[in-house]
């Protein structure tokens, strides 16, 4: 009996009127945990009952404590007929199970009903008394901390980062059980909510067990997802990164009281890993009732992509024995692991040594309902297969680990696409095993690692490259090779140096497919996938070039399958890394050079593209120092490029970029126009309208180049569902529709948030789904953060001294190169391999470049020209003009100083009211310091209506529901004693409607970390640099005056 759960029901308020006669309610409460139920007295005739109950005590196993939610039901007492349910509250008591988090849950919870929504609130107090359990063979894993945050949480230090943990549990979906035909929608929804709650609890417990087995004490980057497979069942799966975390500030390492995993295990010489509970779903309390299994009788694995940015750290030369040793150690540390994957996207300094590039794998599976309780691991096998593939891709890139790893699915009827992606990387072994490596070796290593550019260096041997690539010497340190373009799924490393600001880059793509059944359908999809991947990649590359940038971070490619189409949406944040070469432009080449007017048209297009690039460079403040190109040992011979150069149009719209499909396909940046489709393709490049002045957007945690956040944040979710009107859809119209949908959505966001200017939309997360034949649903969650332009310039100065010094040294070095070389090399080099790429593209992939099509939107040209509030624009210009000199070095070093800024920035609003709970998809809160993590929030809600029109139609229905979900998240956080949710994510928003029947249903799954934060202004940290901070309010005020 390891735990006692105590619950007290205090009061209710704003209850709905349940008795029409008296306009009042006779409410009472049922408190249920596991199979035990308690009831309060009936509080007669009141909408604000004061039950003030005794403490209801449940004596339970800690296993149950982890799995089961506390279920509170508010009912209206009725003497003559059955009691009417008012609504329910599910409370996840997990945060109470580890001593560092919350100690009590107490507060007002919205009473939620799946048919009526929120109906009043109830005040509840929950406590848990845990007893130490010395049984090492236990099934529970209380004490393991869970974090959604994909970096080491702010008030912890990573002692060891153990690695990948994963688990999945399967069950039958109550919605598809026979009983659903006779029970009410409410009962069915509640059964589903409860089941998912139970399954998540079980999943979390099992992951926890694995973490204990690895001697960790926490899971970071915990991502749990549901696959609603309809008839074939319900899968809840989770991945995460096991770590041993140490709380900062507390001098003595503070381990969980209930079980101190690492200590305990170390003490016993005989490490006896619990053999059960590891991969078994057998003991599952939920599982017993069901027999449904998900089996694969059909499976297609799709050839996958490895994106540019490659190479191995050319084991040796300067790094010498240390580097070799490092490699050895890392490898041995990682090879013990089945999957050397990390769900983290940001890392402790020094952790990430080199980054290879993006690796991804997809697989199309056919879901089938087969009752085979003895083989529960089909889904496990599916994922294992994909993970193996990822692992081998990483190996091919000379990397032994994958970071920024994530998995996702897209399901339509019985077809399911499983996707996994991550960034191949070489890691520092220091964090991967016990701290024995630390010491002199580590220090020496750090000396050798050039700050700010090390991660860009290719991790594999340049003489033995897995595919042709264009390499140059690093533009920062000039010692190591770097690729010309780098794609990653991680956040921009804190020590990376960038020039200018970043921006959100999206590739959008639709492909029609024939409706088909089963295998035929799956085959059709898997045939389409490589082409989609290819085109998505091409679009990304083109758009990146168009922005004048050379690296993508936070890349997330989502492929969604529908009845009659496939959708691809890739989002990433483009930046200009100083370590990588200056990207070339985009050159358009016509196929029919004889035609004069055609030539003219081409050159017109070319001019437009060049103008756009120039404009973008100005917009994002990309003004790299004029670096004369070195003669770098490019592995690719260049005679061909020379000949090509002759044909190019003076301005040297230079060109090299490669996309490398794992099969050696390549793409080049000469866009060849051989038909109208290709023309539209080029046009579509230009349709993306930059955000209005004063706005920036990115899908990473922070915006590269902006670091002076003020404290105002606004998290939001926006949903759009569009109906495709015309029946005769073509890929082109579909592409245009989809593109417009996304662009308009962004435009709406910019308009809505215009009062926050200057501001940045961070962590912009698009999700696409195809709920029905002609419906496209796009869901966006992001956070808008205001920032202060003036502050940046002033405050960075002191902080960047070091880096600017370094930069100046660099510049001196650079000056030694003869300037004459400059033009020549700049022009010639970028063309390397362009032609080759082109050829291989057409021959290997079989897709003519022409097929990449999205049509033109001329109106957006005009829009772009239109100014956002004229005044602001003027102001922005004057500011920019006034500060050109200071900005450059400042911007360059900005990520370094980001942390400092957060500490010192923000004339925080002192009058922040009680009860406000902030929500953000980021792992931090600008202008504030997170002092405590209270536990994970993981909630699943269903809302259904049979009176859609009365509730304001689909928009009214969903608007109210999402607002209610936010409210319930906030209430839970507040009850835990927190004032914010960080790393918030809406993982699922499944919306179904039937307007003819006046019905709609929506399922939403959200998660995040509940935290307590303290405004920095309240912390009153006074450091030596503070004088600057003191002038900040004045600066922000002064901005208006300019």
């Amino acid at each position: 009996m390891p735990g006692k759960l105590k619950v007290k029901i205090v009061a209710g308020r704003h209850l709905p009127v349940m008795d029409r006669a008296s306009d009042l309610t006779d409410a009472f409460v049922e408190v249920k945990f596991g199979n035990t139920t308690f009831k309060t007295d009936v509080y007669h005739k009141s909408l604000n009952p004061q039950w003030n109950s005794e403490w209801f005590k449940f004596e339970v196993d800690d296993e149950d404590l982890q799995d089961e939610p506390l279920q509170i039901t508010v009912l209206d007492h009725d003497t003559y007929s059955a009691n009417d349910a008012i609504g329910k509250v599910y409370i996840d008591i997990d945060p109470l199970l580890y001593s560092e988090a919350a100690t009590v849950i107490s507060g007002w919870f919205p009473i939620y009903d799946t048919i009526h929504g929120i109906r009043g609130e109830i005040n509840v107090v929950v406590k848990v008394d845990l007893f130490n359990d010395l049984n090492r063979f236990r099934q529970s894993s209380c004490g393991v901390k869970f974090f959604c945050t994909t970096s080491i949480p702010k008030c912890y230090r990573a002692v060891i980062i153990h690695g990948f943990v994963e688990e999945l549990v399967v069950n039958e979906d109550p919605e598809y059980q026979w009983i659903d035909r006779i029970r009410t929608p409410r009962a069915s929804n509640e059964a589903r909510q409860r089941l998912i709650s139970l399954m998540s609890g079980e999943l979390q417990r099992k992951i926890g067990l694995k973490v204990l087995e690895m001697r960790g004490n926490a899971v970071v980057g915990y991502l749990q997802c549901f696959d609603l497979e309809g008839e074939s069942g319900l899968v809840v799966r989770a991945i995460g990164t096991a770590c041993t975390l140490d709380k900062l500030s507390s001098t003595a390492a503070f381990l969980p009281a209930c079980n101190s995993p690492s200590k305990e295990m170390k003490e016993s010489p005989l490490v006896h890993p619990p053999s059960h509970g590891c991969r078994s779903t057998h003991n599952s309390p939920i599982h017993t009732a069901t027999g449904s299994r998900l089996t694969q009788n059909f499976s297609v694995s799709v050839p996958t992509l490895i994106y540019t940015g490659m190479g191995s750290g050319s084991a040796g030369k300067e790094g010498g024995p240390f580097k070799a040793l490092l490699r050895q150690q890392t490898q041995s540390a990682l090879e013990q692991r089945e999957f050397p994957f990390f769900t983290l996207t940001a890392f402790p300094p020094g952790f990430l040594v080199h980054v290879g590039g993006v690796v991804s794998a997809r697989s199309v599976k056919l879901l089938d309902r087969i009752h085979n309780p003895d083989e529960p691991e089909t889904r496990d096998a599916w994922w294992a297969e994909i993970r193996q593939e990822i692992k081998s891709h990483a190996k091919a890139l000379g990397c032994h680990a994958v970071v920024g790893y994530s998995e996702s699915t897209s399901i339509c009827e019985e077809v399911c696409i499983l996707s996994a992606s991550g960034t191949a990387a070489v890691l520092n072994p220091r964090f991967l095993q016990d701290g024995t490596v630390e010491g002199c070796l580590e220090q020496r290593l750090e000396e050798n690692l050039p700050a700010g550019c090390g991660f860009c260096h290719i991790p594999y041997d340049e003489l033995n490259m897995p595919f042709p690539a264009h390499l140059t010497y690093c533009y920062s340190c000039r010692k190591q090779k770097v690729p010309d373009v780098l794609f990653t799924t991680i956040d921009l490393p804190a020590d990376a140096t960038v020039i200018g600001k970043g921006c959100l880059i999206q590739a959008r793509l639709c492909r029609l497919k024939k409706k088909a059944q089963a295998e035929a359908n799956a085959t059709a999809i898997s045939n389409l996938l490589p082409f989609m991947e290819y085109e998505v990649h091409t679009q990304l590359m083109n758009k990146l070039k168009l922005k004048g940038m050379n690296a993508l971070f936070g890349l997330r490619i989502q492929i969604t399958v529908g009845e009659n189409m496939l959708m691809g949406l890739a989002s990433a944040t483009g930046v200009y890394l100083t370590a990588l070469p200056t990207p070339g432009g985009i050159q358009i080449a016509g196929k029919t050079p004889n035609d004069g007017s055609y030539e003219q048209h081409i050159s017109h297009m070319q001019k437009k593209i060049n103008d756009t690039i120039a404009k973008n460079k100005e917009l994002y403040e990309i003004n790299p120092p004029e670096i004369p190109e070195e003669i770098i040992g490019s592995p690719i011979p260049e005679p061909r490029q020379r000949s090509r150069l002759l044909r190019s149009q003076s301005e040297s719209s230079d060109e090299v970029i490669e996309l490398d499909l794992s099969h050696g396909k390549k793409d080049a940046f000469v866009l060849e126009i051989d038909d109208t489709d290709a023309m539209e393709d080029v046009h579509s490049l230009l349709t993306d309208v930059p955000p209005p002045s004063g706005f920036y957007s990115c899908n990473t945690e922070i915006m590269p180049g902006i670091n002076n956040w003020t404290s105002e944040i606004q998290m939001f979710t926006s949903v759009r569902v569009s109906r495709l009107s015309n029946i005769n859809l073509t890929n082109q119209t579909l592409n245009k529709n989809f593109n417009d949908l996304c662009e308009n959505l962004l435009k709406s966001l910019y308009f809505k948030l215009r009062s926050m200017i200057p501001c940045c939309l961070c962590h912009v997360n698009f999700t696409v789904s195809l709920p029905e034949d002609e419906l496209i649903q796009v869901t966006v969650t992001a956070v808008a953060i205001t920032f202060d332009k003036h502050q940046a310039v002033q405050t960075t100065k002191t902080q960047v001294e070091k880096s600017s010094q370094r930069a100046s040294i660099d510049n001196e070095e650079l000056l030694q190169f003869p300037l004459e070389l400059c033009t020549d090399t700049l022009a010639s080099h970028p063309f390397s391999s362009a032609k080759e790429h082109l050829e291989s593209t057409s021959s290997n992939s079989g897709i003519p470049a022409a097929q990449r099509a999205t049509s033109i939107d001329y109106s957006s040209f005009a829009d772009r020209c239109n100014s956002w509030i004229e005044l602001i624009k003027l102001k922005a210009q004057t500011i920019r003009r006034g500060s050109i000199k200071t900005t450059m070095p400042v911007e360059k070093a900005s990520p370094l100083t980001e942390g400092h800024f957060r500490q010192r920035s923000a004339p925080a609003c002192a009058n922040s009211t009680v009860g406000v709970v902030k929500m953000t998809p980021l792992s931090f809160i600008p202008g504030a310091k997170i002092t405590k993590y209270l536990g994970i929030i993981n909630m699943f809600f269903i809302r259904e209506t049979t009176s859609l029109r009365e509730e304001g139609g689909v928009s009214g229905f969903l608007h109210a529901f999402i607002a209610e979900v936010f409210a319930m998240v906030r209430a839970h956080v507040a009850a835990l004693g927190g004032n914010a949710v960080v790393s918030y994510i809406m993982k699922q928003c499944v919306f179904m409607e039937n307007p003819n029947k006046n019905q709609a249903q929506c399922l939403i799954n959200v998660s995040g970390d509940a935290v307590i934060f303290v405004r920095e202004s309240e912390l009153e940290i006074i450091s030596t640099q503070q004088p600057i901070a003191s002038c900040q309010p004045a600066c922000s005020g002064g901005e208006i005056a300019t």
């Binding site: 809505k752 929500m919 919306f991």
Partner: protein, 358 residues
């Protein structure tokens, strides 16, 4: 391609003040979009009409959801669904309960009944306030009236407590409730020149001095909505001031002596004194009849303001006269109702001065 569903939900509920005003003013979404377009917002922001339409719809939906809460403002403060900063909450409430001068002048003193509600389309046509807005304002009056009608304690205080209005607006509502309850006639043509401000000013003074709550010792029966019946009854006693000829003459001579040389309209005053005095005293003595209470403002204008105005009394002379007129009564030895006279005259004097304009 049409958007079937289009929503934006912020963790902090976004409130656009301009759109809120349009919504309060009762414009439909399409009208509101039209008005916003004309305001030049598209040029300022570079947005498209589609964006504006979607934005307006979204705000309207939010306001529609908030409206239920705005009916009982304390609920807006305690609800959990919409996270709104306190300053914004105050703004939402204040604006929702704000009313149009033109509208309130039409409704002031009328019974807040279904009958009046049916007249709203006429009022809307007459005042140019949209019917929707008229309905909101009327329902606000009625809702506030219903809640505070039977309550003890300060009227404005009760309104402020239950509707979380600003001090100023709560006092205006107190006037509306007071007028509605006592059904003072304000619609007559000769009263049209009076603004809501004038009438609210008078109402406030009457609430302060003429209701049971005004008397310190009647705490138990502290009602601000009705006039003090006992006081109205007592006012009959003042009749002696005009009925007793000696007293009237004495009063006149006291006033004339004091004001000689100080008024530009002395002769007119001297000639009119008895008429004016009779008017004021008779108004007091008739207030026991409900009908006469309702006509209070009509009587004040007919019996005092119009005669003065026709003789072109400057405001300052009216002030000097009324001051002297009230004060001189204290020197009338035969008159015993000094406190009663003061309770009546202090209020009346201020009301008349406020009402004395063109």
């Amino acid at each position: 391609m049409t958007n079937e569903l289009d929503i934006f939900v912020g963790n902090t509920t976004l409130i656009d003040e301009d759109v809120y005003r349009l919504w309060l003013d009762g414009y439909s979404v399409s009208d509101a979009v039209g008005l916003r377009v004309r305001s030049g917002i598209l040029e300022q922001t570079g947005a498209t009409a589609g964006v504006l339409q979607s934005d307006t719809m979204d705000h309207y939906r939010t306001f529609h959801m908030l409206e239920r809460l705005l009916h009982t403002p304390p609920k807006l403060l305690h609800q959990l669904v919409f996270q709104i900063p306190p300053s914004r909450q105050a703004l939402l409430i204040e604006r929702y309960y704000a009313f149009d001068e033109a509208f309130v002048r039409e409704v002031l003193g009328k019974k807040l009944s279904k009958g009046t509600k049916k007249d709203l389309d006429n009022i809307s046509a007459k005042t140019g306030v949209t019917l929707k807005s008229c309905r909101r304002q009327f329902d606000n009056f009625k809702r506030v009236f219903k809640v505070v009608e039977e309550m003890r304690g300060s009227l404005a205080g009760n309104i402020q407590q239950h509707f979380l209005l600003s001090d100023r607006l709560a006092r205006d509502y107190a006037a509306v409730v007071f007028f509605a309850n006592n059904r003072f006639e304000t619609g007559k043509k000769k009263l049209q020149y009076l603004t809501f401000g004038d009438l609210a000013f008078c109402a406030e003074l009457m609430i302060q001095n003429w209701t049971p709550g005004a008397v310190a010792d009647s705490q138990l029966d502290d009602m601000d909505v009705d006039l003090d019946k006992e006081f109205l009854q007592d006012l009959k006693e003042l009749k002696v001031l005009v009925a007793d000829k000696d007293l009237l003459d004495l009063h006149k001579s006291l006033v004339c002596t004091a004001l000689r040389g100080k008024l530009s309209v002395f002769a007119e005053m001297e000639a009119n004194f008895k008429n004016l005095s009779r008017g004021l005293v008779n108004i007091a003595s008739k207030l026991t009849h409900t009908k006469d209470v309702r006509d209070l403002f009509v009587d004040l204008v007919e019996k005092f303001i119009e005669p003065c105005r026709s003789d072109r009394w400057p405001l300052n002379d009216v002030r000097l006269f009324l001051n002297q007129y009230s004060a001189s009564v204290h020197s009338l030895d035969g008159f015993r109702h000094q406190t009663l006279w003061d309770r009546y005259m202090v209020t009346l004097r201020s009301c008349l001065l406020r009402m004395y304009h063109d």
